[in-house]
């Protein structure tokens, strides 16, 4: 991994907490490591480890039915596991936030990752997601703030992409 500074990861968690996100759903992932670890250490939130990413979509819908805010942290490869449940988000007009650490994109060295990485934006577009992309550390927090406003004030489904320009491409 081309190790970039990860201070923004902790700031990302703080931003989500400022927006009152209290359910953190994830499949373990290096790109989201700090956020996941902080949710595990935070007694004020539910840290929900999933067996597959689609569980997190349904969890977020249930959280909304109970008036809590959830975020789904996953790799772009996990998006492919979620499609039918993301259609439920669209059909039900659920407010929904996911943050994707990108694979299969800028500088990817693992050919297994390429197809889903390149399909990520078209899949999100097909489901009417608002897509915001972070490419530098200093834009992560403003983008997460913007995303949270669109999700919980305007009722949108929003995907924040943490690009490989930001998180680096894993070395193979």
């Amino acid at each position: 991994m081309a190790e970039a500074s990860t201070g923004w990861q902790s700031e990302l968690y703080d931003a989500l907490r400022r927006h009152d996100v209290t359910q953190f759903a994830y499949v373990p992932d290096a790109g989201h490591r700090v956020c996941i670890d902080r949710s595990l250490a935070d007694k004020q939130v539910h840290s929900v480890a999933l067996t597959t990413e689609e569980e997190g979509v349904a969890l977020a819908c249930g959280a909304h039915l109970g008036d809590q805010r959830a975020v789904l942290l996953m790799q772009s490869s996990g998006l492919g596991n979620c499609v039918n449940f993301l259609a439920m988000v669209k059909g039900g007009r659920f407010p929904f936030l996911t943050i994707l650490s990108m694979r299969g994109d800028f500088g990817e060295g693992n050919p297994w990752q390429m197809a889903m990485g390149q399909a990520t934006r078209p899949v999100l577009a097909a489901l009417d997601f608002v897509v915001l992309e972070a490419t530098t550390p200093d834009e992560v927090v403003p983008i997460v703030d913007a995303a949270c406003n669109m999700v919980w004030k305007s009722g949108q489904a929003v995907a924040v992409l943490l690009t490989q320009k930001l998180i680096g491409a894993k070395a193979f």
Binding site: E55, L59, A63, G66, D67, N84
Partner: protein, 193 residues
Amino acid sequence: MAYRLDRVTAVPALIGEHRDFLLIGGLAGAAKDLAALTADGPHFFGMAGGMGAAVMIGLGLALARPEKKVLVATGDGELLMNVGALATVAVLDPPNLSILCVDNGHHGETGYQKSHTLRGVDLEKMALAAGIKSTCTVAKQADIARGARMLRASKHCSFVLLRVKPTDPPKVKRLMNPADSRVRFRLGTLGRA
């Protein structure tokens, strides 16, 4: 194990006073069971798609509303589509979440094709192996009282497998638009959209 009970009478007998719960109904038969029981009520979110989502919607709701009892009714087919959710639920063990799996051994909605449970898969054992601490199987009338107690009064997240014969769920008209269902549930249970 025999599939003898009728879901039309066994589901209401197990749930009892439905207003004591926030209710999630997985597609398709289980949502019809709950729609009939609640007269498609405002404390019920019933699904006709999103197969495999019911248990996790119930988990998100149970975590958000710890003061309320949440009951997810789902079918064997719906649960099998995302059976890993039992493991996700078990490691958190929310005591206010109860899962009722109405197992008729078939995919009723698509023409009663045999499901895995009829061919030997035991979903109660899978729930138990996933780590859910309160589980039981209800296969005959005499089992219903125990199952009802477990759904209502367990100190842990509970899982009740209800074995029923492969006959239709109640015929019921229910709200089918998922966005309207979402808004109705929030208005009915939170007082705001």
